[in-house]
Symmetry: C2
Subunit: 179 residues, 2 copies
């Protein structure tokens, strides 16, 4: 039972996404609370015993619109849009990387494009973390979604142990489907 600096740190992959609520790219409530819970309850003061791997999956915008009434008039406009997506993703990851640096836990972070659940399981296969952490809105049977389909899929298909962390009732926004 060796640990800490003596053996390899436990590599925790955390799948993080943007909030669906207005504003500058900031993490979703469930991503943020899953990360904070992991720090507080798992890592504790054993910062040498863990390493975080933050994965942000960006869903390619099928119709080319990202919620704004933009007009794409030239190939350059699409380039610009892709560039903006990348910047948003980097800002999102910056939030988590900064926190890790403050606390002194090593980390890595990267962005992939595709269907979140498929990409997460594919990255688990490729990167081989010891554990995958997924936040979930934890919506009950009387709300529109049961439990995040992403977390449900990962529990079944990811080739490593998975921690599913439901959002606390206090953290639920006005529309519980928001996150």
């Amino acid at each position: 039972m060796e640990g800490g600096a003596e053996s390899e740190p436990t590599r925790i992959m955390v799948a993080v996404n943007e909030s669906s609520i207005k504003g500058y790219p900031h993490p979703s409530i469930s991503s943020r609370s899953a990360f904070e819970w992991t720090l507080q309850k798992i890592v504790q003061s054993n910062t040498a015993g863990f390493k975080f791997l933050f994965l942000h999956v960006q869903v390619p915008d099928e119709d080319g619109f990202d919620g704004m009434d933009s007009i794409y008039a030239s190939p350059g406009d699409f380039q610009e849009m892709k560039h903006r997506d990348k910047i948003r993703g980097i800002h999102l990851l910056e939030y988590f990387v900064k926190k890790c640096h403050e606390i002194g836990v090593p980390c890595e972070a990267w962005i992939k494009k595709g269907d979140a659940k498929e990409v997460i399981c594919h990255e688990v296969k490729r990167v081989r973390p010891d554990i995958l952490v997924v936040g979930s809105r934890g919506l009950g049977p009387f709300q529109r979604v049961f439990v995040g389909t992403v977390s449900e899929f990962c529990v079944k298909h990811a080739e490593c142990p998975v921690i599913t962390i439901k959002r606390k009732a206090d953290d639920t926004p006005q529309d519980p489907v928001d996150d």
Copy 2:
């Protein structure tokens, strides 16, 4: 970011069950490997930062038989059977409690009767652990069961974060439905 002995230890509830394979009451492959994984990857050398809560749920034997060709001729026979079940449960828990003592992690252990998934979620509500660990046989789509229904139910319904730990391919017995 306090931890270790300085703050309250993280209380990890582990749902453990008996192996379906022959012999003296011994833990199922998935219970044992979930516990060992948790020690190695989460607790590491931070033994003061965690406390284990072992819950063993015994399914009441509906037809009164436990696989042996016993004849129950008197109320005393049933008493005897109940007593034997209790002893088996205690021996099972002893395995985990002993390991904790060896390593120096505090623990508690208890037995409940009923439907495993319902009882586990009920005990989470009652005892309020920080996290629930459930092992799963992790059977694939071409085997008889997809992912243990107990773990699936707990991920959805338990009122705390849940770690689902699938049995490793190397640990799978001849009949993968065995555990």
